[in-house]
């Protein structure tokens, strides 16, 4: 089936079998290998992408179901070539990763959280990433990274009279 997608702001048209998951479409058809194939049955969270701005597991939907939708992958969160998003920056600074396998999904989940809740409590951060398994860090530095990113994004580049 032929489907149209808005991938990281670019209109793309791809040919997929109905059984192709959104994850496999992103990785194999579109070459966006930042969405990681971990368990492929909805348990690990490594395949998380933003689907119309909301964090979802891309292994738990078929690409044909995404027809006409906007998808953001880790490749789409950087402000420009060679730059990092504030969340990515914070993950580097606090060393919020070791092997890196869960990292793109953690960062997208954090972006989704901070878009709705610019000042999350520690408990809210923990709850938000509870669907993303990390087997290296023990999560402490990931939570720290998201809190740091939140703090910076709250203060970043806003006119003095901007509404909160």
């Amino acid at each position: 089936m032929r489907i149209k997608l808005d991938i990281n702001g670019l209109k793309r048209e791809v040919e997929v079998e109905p059984r192709t998951t959104l994850l496999d479409c992103l990785r194999d058809t579109l070459g966006l290998t930042g969405a990681h194939a971990g368990c492929e049955h909805g348990v690990c969270g490594a395949c998380t992408v933003l689907f119309d701005g909301v964090a979802v597991r891309s292994c738990l939907m078929f690409a044909v179901q995404a027809q006409g939708s906007a998808i953001t992958t880790i490749e789409g969160v950087t402000p420009g070539p060679g730059e990092l998003s504030p969340v990515q920056d914070a993950f580097c600074e606090t060393h919020g990763m070791q092997c890196g396998f869960c990292t793109p999904a953690m960062i997208l989940t954090a972006h989704a959280l901070l878009a709705n809740n610019p000042n999350p409590t520690r408990a809210e951060i923990v709850e938000a990433i509870s669907g993303n398994i990390c087997r290296c860090t023990g999560y402490a530095q990931i939570v720290e990274a998201i809190a740091l990113a939140a703090e910076r994004m709250r203060g970043a580049n806003r006119p003095k009279d901007a509404h909160p």
Binding site: R19, T21, E40, H41, A55, L60, M61, F62, Q65, S130
Partner: protein, 297 residues
């Protein structure tokens, strides 16, 4: 971990979905897909056709409906769990759902998972099924161009087994509204938060002006083939002050002859013991919450 091939249809309305379903006995309806897609990836499910109802906008709603049975909140089948979780009408009129839904999976699965999908899937540990049975919800469906309905307490007959007629598509659910000094409680035990529960318990209580239980509903999930209402305990406790010792005695008696599920993680005895405890906590929470309400609204 790749699904077997299938045909894909995206019907424009529910009657078209029913017709597609009737035309192929191996077709399956897909709503949020948070269980079905995983089952297909593991090839535990191999439907020949998927009928995707996600874009039938008429099935996405949360609204109050008043009919001869009284007031109810009606929820459309494809309403996302995360939408119900944050909805103001639900928080006010069906607070048990607001308490239960955060226990379903994770934020990323509640973002896709639907109310109707979970109710139709009939997992013994499903928080939505337990809520529906506890609150005497009514399941609505469509088949052959006609609407039908079934009380939740008659809809579930086994693990993943319902009385939904062949070729029917679940279209929505109605939760009766309790007015007055109403409180709710919900507890579950699992290996990790948001994993499948080993045991879950829900309670809703309405207190009279004398502080005694005017109405009480208690349900236990995940312990048996499908969630149970503890009717004998409800009858014993109705009209009383719900003091903890009496509640526990009534619950122990009501759970004495159930046949709990048993697996590697939790024995039958453990499930029975924990069910008593969680149900007692749910009733205590519900009583306290109801007491906190100064006046009937």
């Amino acid at each position: 971990m790749k699904a077997a091939p299938f045909e894909y249809s995206r019907p424009a309305d529910i009657d078209e979905a029913c017709a597609l379903l009737a035309a192929d006995e191996n077709a399956r309806v897909i709503a949020g897909g948070q269980t079905l897609v995983a089952m297909m990836a593991m090839r535990l499910a191999r439907p020949t056709r998927l009928i995707d109802i996600n874009r039938i906008a008429a099935l996405a709603y949360i609204r109050q409906e008043n009919n001869k049975e009284g007031e109810a909140v009606a929820i459309g089948a494809i309403t996302r769990q995360c939408v119900v979780e944050r909805d103001a009408l639900i928080a006010k009129s069906v607070p048990l759902l607001a308490r239960a839904i955060p226990n379903i999976g994770h934020a990323a699965t509640r973002a896709r998972g639907t109310v109707g999908g979970s109710l139709a899937n009939a997992d013994p540990a499903a928080e939505l099924v337990l809520s529906a049975i506890t609150l005497d919800a009514v399941i609505e469906y469509r088949a052959d161009g006609e609407s039908g309905e079934s009380p939740a307490r008659e809809f579930y007959i086994g693990p993943m087994i319902t009385t939904l007629p062949a070729g029917a598509v679940l279209s929505g659910v109605r939760f009766p509204i309790w007015r007055g000094k109403v409180g709710v409680g919900f507890h579950e035990v699992n290996a990790r938060r948001s994993d499948f529960a080993f045991v879950s318990a829900a309670a809703q209580v309405e207190l009279g002006d004398d502080g005694k239980a005017k109405r009480i509903a208690i349900g236990v999930g995940a312990a048996t083939d499908f969630p149970l209402r503890l009717e004998s305990a409800e009858q014993q406790l109705k009209g009383g002050a719900l003091d903890d010792a009496k509640v526990r005695a009534a619950l122990r008696e009501a759970l004495a002859d159930i046949e709990p599920l048993e697996d590697l993680h939790a024995s039958a005895d453990y499930r029975r013991r924990v069910a008593v405890d969680l149900a007692a906590r749910a009733v205590a929470d519900a009583r306290q919450a109801a007491q906190g309400k100064s006046h009937a609204y």
